[in-house]
Structure formats: structure tokens, C-alpha cells
Symmetry: C2
Subunit: 155 residues, 2 copies
């Protein structure tokens, strides 16, 4: 699952850039820059997407046993409230977090066997959604669309 431990300049650069971005964003909003938030933000960006607070806490506490669950949890909440992360809840009822990217809203394919979460976006779908909502005089603010089933590997 994990890549080899060699250098990954492009990826690392991206992460440190994003990390800096987060730091600035938070600063700007009047929050304090702390060692913990730095580590948590970094690890969050590095982690696969769709991590739970618990997941992230476990990852982090391996290297940093002085960072508590509460702080990880609160930092994820903080990032979410600040518009830098998104909370999502799938069928297992756990709250998962995902860094906000510049990309537009996306939806999810969730494998019932291996649990893999694949993202997709589809313009036609967006248009159709708007059209349907219009028919009901409904103004969509956000939506949730998830497909549960079996991925290519598992079916």
C-alpha cells in the first residue's frame, strides 16, 4: 500500500506548500500557529483522503506521542470550519475528513468489499441534478451522491 521510502520531491513540495497555505489561512483567521497544528496539517495532507479523526490520530501518535486525540479532532474540525477540509459521512457512520482541493465537488464510489473509496465528477450529472431540482422549485446548496457496490477488483 505504501510507496517506497525514497525521495518524492514533487509530492513533498506540494504538501509543504499546502501546509504553508493552511498555516497562513489559519493565521489570517486569528488562530495561533502551533507545533501540533503544523504536524497535524502535514500528516493530514499526506494521509490518504477520507481519514477519520481516529485514523489520523493513530498515524500521528506513532511519531508524536504527545499529541492527543482531542487536538487532532479539533484541528480537523477547525480546518473544516475554515473551509480547508470537508467532513463526509458514508454508510459506516464515521466522520471522515478530506483536504479541500481546488477541484469542484465530487462524488463517491464505495466498495462494499474492500472499502475503497473512489472519487468522480461528472458534468452531465451536475446538470441533470439542477434540472431535477428546478422541477421542484428547489435550490440546491450542496448534494451527496454515493454509489455502494463492488469495484473492478472485488466483483
Amino acid at each position: 500500500m505504501k510507496k517506497t521510502a525514497g525521495r518524492e520531491p514533487a509530492v513533498s513540495k506540494k504538501i509543504s506548500e499546502k501546509k504553508e497555505q493552511i498555516r497562513l489561512h489559519l493565521k489570517q483567521k486569528g488562530f495561533k500557529a502551533t507545533r501540533q497544528r503544523d504536524i497535524i496539517a502535514g500528516e493530514f495532507l499526506r494521509s490518504g483522503e477520507h481519514v477519520t479523526a481516529e485514523d489520523l490520530y493513530k498515524n500521528i501518535s506513532r511519531k508524536h506521542d504527545d499529541i492527543g486525540f482531542t487536538t487532532v479532532y479539533r484541528t480537523l474540525k477547525l480546518l473544516s470550519r475554515s473551509g480547508l477540509a470537508t467532513e463526509r459521512v458514508f454508510a459506516d457512520q464515521l466522520t471522515r475528513y478530506e483536504p479541500i482541493s481546488s477541484e469542484s465537488h465530487h462524488d463517491h464510489l464505495i466498495c462494499l468489499k474492500c472499502g475503497a473509496i473512489t472519487e468522480f465528477e461528472n458534468l452531465k450529472m451536475e446538470r441533470l441534478q439542477e434540472k431535477i431540482a428546478d422541477e421542484f422549485g428547489f435550490h440546491i446548496v450542496t448534494h451527496k451522491m454515493e454509489f455502494y457496490g463492488y469495484c473492478r477488483a472485488c466483483r
Copy 2:
């Protein structure tokens, strides 16, 4: 919100029919027919859709203070497991139940202001979903689609 208290022969008939249907279904599956299950099933069918176990319990306990929350909860679970009801979880994280109708799967429009839940189904949407899933080699078992926003009355 509530209709006048007059006779509603058509609706009542439907409910007692469905109630009988449920009773038979359960019987057939080897469950026992009890006074409580009768009352709960009847009230469940009568209740607006998308009730929580708590909602239903409150309704029922007004008239039947000997029926406990646990039994309401277990009956809803039982109906769900038996394919006579569906569980759904929306953004508020509460589990809601809905009687199964013969109609096909439907999706939901949820008003962020008044909380109204409107159902819809759309064939084009279903087809598009299949098409998208196919592109990923994904086999859809079930899906979830919810629009959050403002209904005609609230916007």
C-alpha cells in the same frame, strides 16, 4: 400540518391492508404476532415517512404508555431486516425509517430551513448513474443521493 379528523376511508383501508400484509410477512418469517407489533406497524404506516425511532415512540406512547422505546426500536429494525421498511440517514445523523412501497428506489430533496424531505425518482438519473459506474468497472448495489438546499416555500 395535520389533516382534519374526519373519515379517510381510502387511506384507512390502505393502512389496514398494509398492516395485515406486514403481519402476514412477519408470521411467515416465523416471528410472533403481538399487540405491540400491531400497534407499532399501524402507527408507523400512519406516520409521515422518515420518522426516527424516537419520533414514532413519542407518538405511540401518548396513547399506549405501556409500549417502550426498545420495542419500537426493535420493531423498526425487524421490519427493516425483513424488507418491509428502509433505514436512511441524512445529514443530521439520525436513523430514519420509511415503509417500503412497491415503488422503485427514490432519492431525496432536503430543505435546510424547514427540514421537509421530498422524494423523487428519475429514470435518466438512474441510467446516467449506471453509465458512470460502468466507466469505473463498478457494479452498483445501491446508491444514495440527496440534495440539500431550500424548498420552494423557504427560499
